[in-house]
Each structure stands twice: as structure tokens, then as C-alpha cells.
Symmetry: C2
Subunit: 376 residues, 2 copies
């Protein structure tokens, strides 16, 4: 990855934003002069702790696809900009899991590793999320998560040994490229310790048979392959987590035909008429899956949003942003939940368009391909 110099205008724009929204940080002019001088001299500059924290929070606030933005000010920063060695990156990712999970009282957290810079690229985490389940091709079918069949192959080709016997919910190892002088060494595989991964066994508040489906899901969603851009500085490894909204698990991960594809099994157990889609068996099965996820997470004491409550919170967020006079980018098709869209208030309005400037999480094409185990 070629690393270009930092654009001083982008830096200045960010610094002005930071000082405008944080008056206590004093006048912006001296900081601009210092940063321009630093860029002239070194090709880059170093964010203060407060700038970095603010930048990450604004990147969250600007995530057009995220419905969970109301509490963007609460994002907790783990500043690991000094970390570039792959084994340290992996260890810090595990540290992130432990610190953010808190036995279920999940804390929105971001760990920021070394940025790209004149002395080389920052490290990268190849995984889409720090916790995901392996997928194994077995005959014509897939055991585990079909989305990660390619990534699982990559991990194995790098030396990972799946558990024996292989299961439907085997946590994938981390695949990490180091930064700086470590970059040339290529990717390393690191197992995630079992005790860093909190999971929830799924059962249904009314249907006892549900537990026998043997479903579970991990408590913490940590997106780990998006780049964080702040004021001209680019952090290619900056894993962040919130908590789940139930439908992500119940109506996508466990329901999609190219994921765990569980709707038919649930419908059969519910004794629904599956002879035609028109009997609404898919619709009913997805709702009971959602009820099971919510109930199981609640009983386990794990933070979890539901699509109704989160939609309302989201509209409060949009109102606050409008009241603050800020453009509030929204990607309707990602904000509206995958079930009962029209029953949530987010469905019934228009929003500002997504933008492409300011602090922002971005998914590189290369990172996207690697996260799916595709050739890059």
C-alpha cells in the first residue's frame, strides 16, 4: 500500500471542526500553524488524545448506515497508536473484547492502532468482525456460517487448525498484518481465547423446542476491517463495537438464505404450513427467531437493542442533529430494519444524503475482499 502525504487542508478542516465543537480546547489558529508545520516537516501529524477521541466519535455520528448513533458521545477510546506488531495487534483485539463485553453490559468501544504514515502502513485486521463463525464446505452443504467459507479457507491456509470435530459455531481466528517494519512479513493467524468470547445460547420464551435447534450467537459485534479517516490521517485498523440490534442476528445472520438459513427449520418446528410462501411462514418464523434472540440476550444480561426502540432513539438522534444545525447523513435502506420496516417510524420519512467528507469509517475494496477470503 503506497502511503501518500497528509493533505494539510483536510487536517485544518478537521481541526476547525474540533475547536468549534469543543470551545474549551482554546483557539484553533496556533494548532493549525503547528500542524501545518508538522506536516511540512514529517509528511504527517499526530492527533492529540482529545482530537482522536472526537474524530472517532464524529466518524460514528456520520455513519449513514448506523441506527445506533444517539449515544455517539459515549464512544470509549482505546488509544493503541503505538502498536504495529501483529501479535500485539491480536492481543489488543482480545483486550478490546474483554474490556467492551463487561459480562454483557456492553460498552461502545474503539481501539485505534497505528495510522498509515511516511514510515509505512498501519497494521490491518483482515476479519470483518473480531468474532465470527467459521464456515466449512461439507459435501453440497456448509457447516457453520456460509459467509465465511472463503475466510475460513484463508485462515486454514495460514496455518489455523479448526477444532475437532468442526462445529456450526467455531469462532474464527484473527488474521492480522502488522504495520511499519512488520508489514512485509505478511498475515499472521491468532486464535481468540474462548474466555474472551461471550456467547448466548438461544431459547424461546414460550417454545421449549427452540433450544433444541442448538442456536447461539456471540454477544459482541466488533467491525474490524473498516478504515477510520480523521483529518487526513488514515487508521486502517480501528475495530469498533456497539451492541447488537436483535434483527441483525434473527432476520439476517440466522435467516438469510446465504447465512444460517434457519427459517424453514423454525417454521417446521412451529408446525407452520410451508407449502407456499403465501402462508406467511417465513414472516412468522422470523418473528419467533427475533423473540428468541431478545429473550435469550435479556436473560443472559447482554445489551441488545430491538428495532422498535432503536428506531425511536434514532429519530431523536436525527432531531438533535438538526437542532444542532448539522447535516445528518442517513442511508434509508440500511436504517430501516429487515423485518417490520413499515411499522417503525424511521420508514416514514426522508433524510439528508450520505456524504463523503469529514471523519468517517470506510471499507476499502481490498479489505472487503479479504474479509470474505476472496483473492485481492
Amino acid at each position: 500500500t503506497a502511503v501518500r502525504g497528509v493533505d494539510p487542508d483536510e487536517a485544518e478542516e478537521f481541526l476547525r471542526l474540533f475547536h468549534t465543537e469543543n470551545p474549551a480546547s482554546g483557539p484553533v489558529e496556533p494548532r493549525i500553524v503547528a500542524v501545518r508545520e508538522e506536516i511540512d516537516r514529517t509528511g504527517t501529524y499526530v492527533h492529540t488524545h482529545d482530537e482522536l477521541e472526537f474524530g472517532a466519535r464524529v466518524a460514528w455520528r456520520s455513519s449513514a448506515r448506523c441506527i445506533g448513533r444517539l449515544y455517539w458521545r459515549s464512544l470509549h477510546l482505546r488509544d493503541r497508536r503505538h502498536v504495529t506488531a501483529p501479535e500485539e495487534v491480536a492481543a489488543e483485539c482480545v483486550g478490546h473484547l474483554r474490556e467492551a463485553t463487561r459480562r454483557g453490559r456492553i460498552r461502545s468501544t474503539i481501539t485505534i492502532f497505528a495510522p498509515d504514515g511516511p514510515s509505512g502502513p498501519g497494521p490491518r485486521v483482515w476479519n470483518e468482525q473480531l468474532i465470527r463463525y467459521a464456515g466449512y464446505r461439507a459435501g453440497g452443504r456448509v457447516l457453520g456460517d456460509p459467509r465465511y467459507v472463503g475466510f475460513t479457507d484463508t485462515a486454514r491456509s495460514l496455518g489455523w487448525l479448526p477444532p475437532s470435530p468442526m462445529g456450526r459455531f467455531d469462532v474464527l481466528p484473527l488474521v492480522v498484518t502488522g504495520g511499519g517494519e512488520h508489514a512485509a512479513a505478511g498475515p499472521q493467524v491468532h486464535e481468540v481465547p474462548r474466555d474472551a468470547v461471550m456467547e448466548v445460547d438461544l431459547h424461546h420464551p414460550e417454545h421449549a423446542w427452540f433450544a433444541e435447534l442448538g442456536l447461539r450467537w456471540h454477544a459482541l459485534p466488533v467491525i474490524s476491517n473498516m478504515r477510520l479517516d480523521i483529518g487526513g490521517i488514515s487508521y486502517p485498523a480501528a475495530p469498533f463495537n456497539g451492541w447488537y440490534m436483535a434483527t441483525e442476528i434473527s432476520a439476517r445472520n440466522l435467516a438469510d438464505a446465504d447465512r444460517y438459513d434457519m427459517l424453514a427449520e423454525v417454521a417446521d418446528a412451529m408446525a407452520l404450513d410451508t407449502s407456499s410462501d403465501r402462508t406467511l411462514w417465513r414472516d412468522r418464523a422470523a418473528i419467533e427467531l427475533t423473540a428468541a434472540v431478545q429473550h435469550s440476550f435479556d436473560e443472559a444480561g447482554v445489551s441488545l437493542a430491538d428495532h422498535h426502540g432503536e428506531s425511536q432513539r434514532f429519530l431523536r438522534f436525527v432531531e438533535k442533529e438538526e437542532a444542532a444545525g448539522r447535516h445528518c447523513p442517513v442511508d434509508w435502506s440500511w436504517i430501516v430494519p429487515p423485518i417490520s420496516g413499515g411499522l417503525t417510524p424511521v420508514f416514514h420519512r426522508y433524510y439528508d444524503e450520505p456524504t463523503d467528507t469529514g471523519p468517517m469509517f470506510r471499507l476499502d475494496d481490498q479489505a472487503k475482499a479479504r474479509g470474505r477470503g476472496c483473492p485481492v
Copy 2:
């Protein structure tokens, strides 16, 4: 309404499209020469029957928000371009209802009235749809469809007398402005005869109590306030119908908080726990409403799509359009159904952007305002 002359280039573009897609119509050049000469001489031109039919069908094919486009070639044309007098427009609208309903074996139909032209504007139908229910403000609540409280007031101010006693499902009268020499006379109100309106009483395949909710809906959705533009000619009154997709009735018209708002009542009858949205009572109620609409329409022998089947058909349409090398405009947020969006295949892909050229249905701002009974 000022009526501008027809743009000969728009006319030519349409004629080329018509002749390209209809080789049997012969070479396009003589027709272009004739039409350009006609526009020079008269300021406009007259579509042949085949051009008009094709133009209307292409306008449907290009409706980015319509999931029902697979059978666009089957659109049946009622050519009423000679009609401008308001009472005749109203009578032809009633004729449309009768011819398209066919006791439930609904036929996709469009009635095209006189276009805007040098001799004056075409007629207009003010109603959003030919069949809609009145809304009456009563104390702090609304009896009937809250969406049409304004339109109901308009109709009354023009002399319409609601039935006595007023009900929740009183079919609104047609409000029509004539075209040409009739335009200056202003809008007229015309009652829709009861026997031209097929309706379906709603009951549920399993829950006997459902019928006691007293719900019903009309069989035929006829959008009547969109302008049809073809090759530079503009038809301001061109009511068209397909058949309903169940969720339009069950998850929008009967469910939206600013429409019949029936979810809570259904949930109560289902004895669901409505203490919190998180119990998914809304989701479950919307599904049973949908099941009731489907079951009742099916039993009454009325054509009705469901969101699963229609999604599949829509993807076949998109594939066919792609195979024909045509741009296929799609508005994702309208195509994805209001419930179970993620469970339908239309959710999981990207599409071509909507466009603004070629034969097309358009909603004028003025028509939009009139359809809601707002001041224009």
C-alpha cells in the same frame, strides 16, 4: 395551466423507441417527418392507437416504484382522448372501475383522457385513487381514513353530502375538472355508484373475532392523479390500475398510525402483551392482518399479490429487462415491502437508478396537494 408546445425532439425520441421495439410498425423516418410537420402546423401531434398503448406500457415498465411490472405488456388501454367534459370524465372513470374489476379477476387497465394541448388543458381527476374512503374529524379522533380528511372537506365544500350516518368506509365521490372549454368551470363532484365498487369484508382464516373488527377494503387500486407523459404529449388524466399487494392494505392503509391505525386493536384481540414494543406485538399483529387480507381476497376471488411472490416476479422482470439491454430504474425503498423486507429477495441487491426521461407517470405538485385536499 399554461400549455407549452410539444418539443419535436421528445416526440422523435419516443417514435424511435416505438419503432425500434415494434419492428412491424415499419420504418420510423416517414412518421418522424409527418409528426414534425404536424407539430409545426398545430403545436402538437396525435399519437396513433399503437403509439399510445405502447407509451402507456413503457411508462408502467419505467415506474421505478412499482414492484408489479413483470406483465407490463398486458396493460389494457381505454382510449378516451376525445373526452373532456367533467361529467363524461366521471362516467368513464366509473366505466373503468366496471371494466377493470371483472368481479375480482382484475385486469390492469388505463383510461387515457384528452391531453394538454394548444386548445387548452386536458381534464383532471383530483382524487389520488378513484376509490378511497372519506375521513371525518370527530372530536379529537377521525372516523374513516385520516389521509382523506382534507379531501373529504374539499368534496363537501363542492356540494358532496356524506351518507348518513357517516361510516368508516364511505367511498369518496370523484372530483373532476373538465378539459378544453370546460376547464374554466372549475371542479365538479360526482358520486361513484355503489355497484361499481367491489369491496372485500376482512376475516381471518383462524381467528373468528377478526370479522368483528368490521374491516373491509376495496378490490381495485386505481391511481388517478398522476400525469402520463409520452413523447412530449402530456395526459393529465390517465387513471390506471393493477391489483393490490396485500401488504399495501394490511401493513400500510390499515396499519399506519396516520391511517386506520389498527395494530393495537388487532393485538388486543390476539391477547398479545402490548406493554412494550419489544414484545413484538406490532410485528405479530401486522402479520395476522396480512393473513386476513390475503385470505379474504382469495375467498372473494379477487386478484391480490403477496410480497413474497411479487418479489420473485419482480426479480424476473429485472432479469428480463437486463437481458433486453434496457436500463431498469428501481427505487429500492418503494420496492422492498413494508414487512419482512429482508426476507424477500428484492432486499438483497442493488439496482439501476430511477431516471426522468421517456414515457413516464409523474405526480405534479398541484395534483399532489389537491389529492390531499390541501390549498394549491
